[in-house]
Symmetry: C2
Subunit: 333 residues, 2 copies
């Protein structure tokens, strides 16, 4: 078996794995519901990996409310990774810009908690070695906007708390964001529908009848998205028209795009010079693109670097996992 | 056994029962998670009731996303009530202001769906027989603001869709509202904490270590509320101070109070004359009181009629169930 480096990104809703030579998988796993099953899930994943090389990890799952504290979450995630891969094989990326052993990581929990943005930005920096750039990574749940100068991330925030404050983290994403967090008093304050439904309706995300990772557990189709959005208006498919839910979906899109554009603006303000490029990533690249055209209208057309176009959909969706795998190989050289 | 009328209010999060002579119980039941268990829960409730009298029902649970449509939800709820009590004994309050048999209700689903506000307002109207008044009922999940003239509700909306539009229904409540629906981009767009947590921290709701009906399933105590609010800031109890979560709780209170005050203002505008009284009800009476003092500063101090003070906490929390029970007795006279 090849010994190419493996990257793992352990989030609250998805486990992502990739190898430095370009294999990738994203698997939905509701960590917050089943924290005790993480080691088992990772072991199953380990058996499918096409490599027995070193394992580079990054995580965000420690924020899940199944854990009392982040320290507790990081500890349990490190333990589960140890069970699945053996502690010796594992290194965790830290926001100090280097890999830590599991033993080191256990004593630097706040450096390895939510460090995936830093890994991705470090990787992205290699794509734009000179001048100023912004990385805009719109995931299913959150968005990272990281300023990059001369090939290195120059973010001010380290922990998620700081990153929210500096708007390097916008807690809004292309699939899991509850619509009530975007539309406030206009809609039912319930988890009846998410941004996935808005983008299904607007045809920005493709239907997937096999995907039931939705607000009501019914399929990710336009029909069911319409029903979910109707419920946000306290109605149903018999009382709310498709025009009404399309209009609501459009409002959600406008609010979300403008929140991401605000973060892009804040990031641009932190760059030493006007950005010469923007790197877009994540399952919500379409949102990143729209927000950038709103916030950076002067950016030349050819200077948008899309992970999706460069790497394909599988690697792009698991971009943080791929990034730590590649960083691990670079470090080994 | 006495044959006093029984009232039932079947919501998405609670089953409430009361008798016209003043017995009441509120039982948490997550209908949206276990719709198939409703008949069984109601049967258990039936065995505890101190009466075998007629059963008057009202509901809001049909909006739960376990049901494809409201018609479907009303049908399944009526069927479950029939199993538990026998169809012959049951009548459902309709927004036309009268009781329907189960057979009639099955053909008038939109009249019996979410009719509990109408029952409560009809009951409240008897308390203010002359002039203009407002009913402000702040529940765990939603708030009803119903204009009353000469002892009768004069609401414009009938369905929840219309009631949201006319602001007679504000989808915001004292316990279950996700804080992200109030605080938008300031906090994580997750169901990490609800208004219950804000009011635990502000000491507006008393602690109850036995109550685990919270965002993370941990107890309804100030300690855990602090942890839940810390998570909304992407932090934890080790990184976020109690001052920070208290300040966040206060913001949530301010937003919610002003949303309810807006609805009160809209309701006042619909009255034929300045209100001479306001009736406040629900587990969030404290919020109703604050919102009214904001929206109706001219209302004389003695003209606030509190269900909680008149009926005590148990009947007041189950006020809609009590209202249909009393309406049923009045109708029988």
């Amino acid at each position: 078996m090849a010994a190419t480096a493996i990257g793992l990104d352990i989030g609250g809703a998805n486990l992502k794995a990739a190898t430095a030579d370009g294999w990738a998988v994203t698997r939905p796993f509701e960590l917050w519901k089943h924290p005790q099953r993480l080691a088992e899930e990772l072991s199953a994943l380990a058996r499918e990996l096409p490599s027995d090389g070193p394992v580079a990890i990054t995580m965000t799952g420690e924020l899940c409310d199944c854990f009392e504290t982040k320290r507790d979450g990081v500890g349990q995630i490190l333990a589960a990774v140890g069970v699945a891969f053996g502690t010796e094989r594992v290194r965790a990326w830290s926001t100090a810009g280097r890999f830590l052993t599991v033993a080191e990581a256990e004593h630097a929990t706040l450096e390895v908690a939510a460090a995936n943005w830093h890994a991705l930005a470090t990787f992205a920096g290699r794509l734009v070695p000179d001048g100023s750039a912004l990385l805009v990574d719109v995931g299913s749940t959150t968005t990272d906007v990281i300023p990059i100068a001369d090939g290195r991330p120059i973010a001010l925030g380290r922990t998620d708390i700081e990153r929210m404050r500096y708007r390097e983290l916008a807690y809004t994403g292309a699939r899991r964001t509850p619509l009530c967090a975007l539309l406030g008093s206009e809609v039912a304050a319930e988890l009846f529908a998410t941004t996935l439904d808005a983008y299904l309706i607007l045809k920005m995300i493709a239907e997937d009848p096999a995907d039931c990772d939705t607000a009501d557990g019914r399929p990710a189709t336009r029909h069911h998205a319409h029903a979910r959005l109707a419920r946000m208006l306290c109605g149903d498919i018999e009382s709310i028209s498709q025009e009404q839910t399309r209009s609501l979906a459009r409002k959600a899109f406008d609010v979300q795009r403008s929140r991401i554009a605000d973060a892009v603006n804040a990031g641009r303000g932190r760059l030493p010079s006007a950005p010469s490029a923007a790197v877009i990533a994540g399952s919500g690249e379409f949102l990143a693109r729209d927000a950038i055209s709103l916030a950076l209208p002067g950016l030349p057309a050819g200077s948008l670097i899309s992970f999706r176009e460069r790497l394909g959909p599988a690697l792009s969706t698991a971009a943080c996992a791929y990034a730590v795998a590649v960083l691990s190989e670079w470090e080994a050289r």
